[in-house]
Amino acid sequence: MTTTYDDLLFEISKPGRIGYSLPESSIEKTDLTNLVSDHLIREEPAELPELSELQVMRHYTGLSNKNFGIETGFYPLGSCTMKYNPKINEDIARYPGFAQIHPLQPEKTAQGALEMMYRLEENLKEVTGMDAISLQPAAGAQGEWAGLLIFKAYHQANGEGDKRRKILVPDSAHGTNPASAIVAGYDVVEIKSNKEGRVGVEALKAAVGPDTAGLMLTNPNTLGLFEVDIVEIAQIVHEAGGLLYYDGANANAILGKSTPGEMGFDVVHLNLHKTFSTPHGGGGPGSGPIGVKDYLKDFMPAPRIKKEEDEYSLSYTHPQSIGRVKGYYGNFGVNVRAYSYIRSMGAEGLLQVSEDAVLHANYLKARLEPYYETPYKDHCKHEFVLSGIRQKKLGVRTLDIAKRLLDYGFYAPTVYFPLIVEECLMIEPTETEAKEQLDAFADALIDIAKDAEENPDTVTGAPYTKAVKRLDEVTAARKPIVVYQKN
């Protein structure tokens, strides 16, 4: 019988099979009990899988072939900016001066690495319109949390820490916004979007007050719409004594066009793994640097990069700092990739990134508009939302449409988010796709819309071409098995 490598390593295992035979050691053997105290030694040997090297290779290669990534196909996952990450970033990150250094080696011997961090901070200042950057946060949500701790430190320094307890969050926000606010010890107040899908100025005025610590906003927002009233919004929050937080998840739409600084934001984070083309999701750790305006500099996480003449160092003495938010200095290797991207694109290139990302999204939206409900008619930025309500009336839900797309070789868009759009599909094509690819995706969605009318069973039965079909998500969520159980 042929072994299929869908089996777990534990299931393929055969007692006594080994991958390597080591030669007899010339060093004298010592009994383990001489080195470790008895209570730390397990009574029965650990049940490790026993396989040959080839079996292990086939197992993992099999798994990797099942993987879907941006290099496999189109990945229009709204709000996640699944752009292609140019390979030059990987080359640069593998330079020995970046790849083979240790975070604890003397600063004098890591000047190049420190200079890279300093320059990346300078570049990100320009992109965000902020006065100081910290590269420490490991991802967007950690950036949010660190940024809110800075809000807190600021209000405390002004003697208003106890009074300002509330963070305002629009109902279209990423779920991480309210979650970060709660983790930072704040209460969350939800602001309802207006009919155009934006923060209503009147609703905001009614919500701000002496208890407002600040507002968290994504701009463009999760509907792909630019908050056109942003200057007035900033004014309302500032006049109430609050601060503004910019969620940079959608920064891919504004590069070189506008900055959160100009818009009136006080603290921002960027997702380098979205906008600045570093590996994403399963492909690598994230990076969520934060930026602040001058008056918040002293609260930034320490250590900070310091440049004196031509010498770079890490400075630890910042008594008002919120402290360290991550071990060492952030996800360094990821930050190298982002720096490589910024330098290889240049200012002109980054401007074109945003222009093309917006163009691609509007092109797809225009092609799909006759077939799907578009709840917001304005031109979009880098992403847009469709609603599957027409199809739902025919018995085809957005989930079915998403599953059917898999058969066409596409990753499904974000679905059922933002929560304010019924049967939502949220599509972000990014700038790195060719027109043919965008057309192929539009054609597929148009086919599916036609099938929803003529052959709904084709859509509701999908996917047909994948190794696994519909998974029982409900039972998995209601009765999860979180630990491997050996039969």
């Binding site: 059922y416 998500e473 409900v474 969520a477």
Partner: protein, 128 residues
């Protein structure tokens, strides 16, 4: 199963059953359940918790999203439907019956004048 016609509703899709003048049973409507999809987890308040009107008192998690449930009336939590902890699917199967969430003892007669009756709620839902 509770008779839907005798219930009162909020715009946020909670229902209220007047068991006594000052004692109510609370749940969420069939429309809310339909919107949420398959419910996988329900978090309920502690017994005797004091609620003000519009306080968040429960969280309902479905495969699609997580929703907060708000108290339509003020009072003390007298009973919680703890069966939902192990069988959240009851909320999908019978939102007006076995899927009820909590019962509240109010300190005075409950005023339902701010809530919709069943036919007003039907009309409200069809306008959404």
């Amino acid at each position: 199963m509770t008779d839907k016609a005798k219930l009162f509703f909020t715009k946020e899709h909670e229902w209220v059953e007047l068991v006594n003048d000052d004692y109510v049973r609370i749940g969420i409507s069939d429309y809310a359940v339909e919107q949420l999809g398959d419910i996988v987890f329900v978090e309920l308040p502690e017994l005797k918790a004091e609620l003000s009107a519009e306080d968040e008192f429960a969280t309902v998690e479905s495969v699609k999203s997580t929703s907060e449930i708000y108290a339509p009336v003020a009072g003390s939590v007298a009973k919680v439907n703890s069966a939902l902890e192990d069988e959240p699917e009851k909320l999908n199967e019978a939102p007006f019956g076995e899927g009820w969430l909590i019962e509240i003892q109010a300190s005075e007669a409950v005023d339902v004048s701010g809530l919709m009756d069943s036919s007003a709620y039907e009309e409200y839902v069809s306008s959404l």
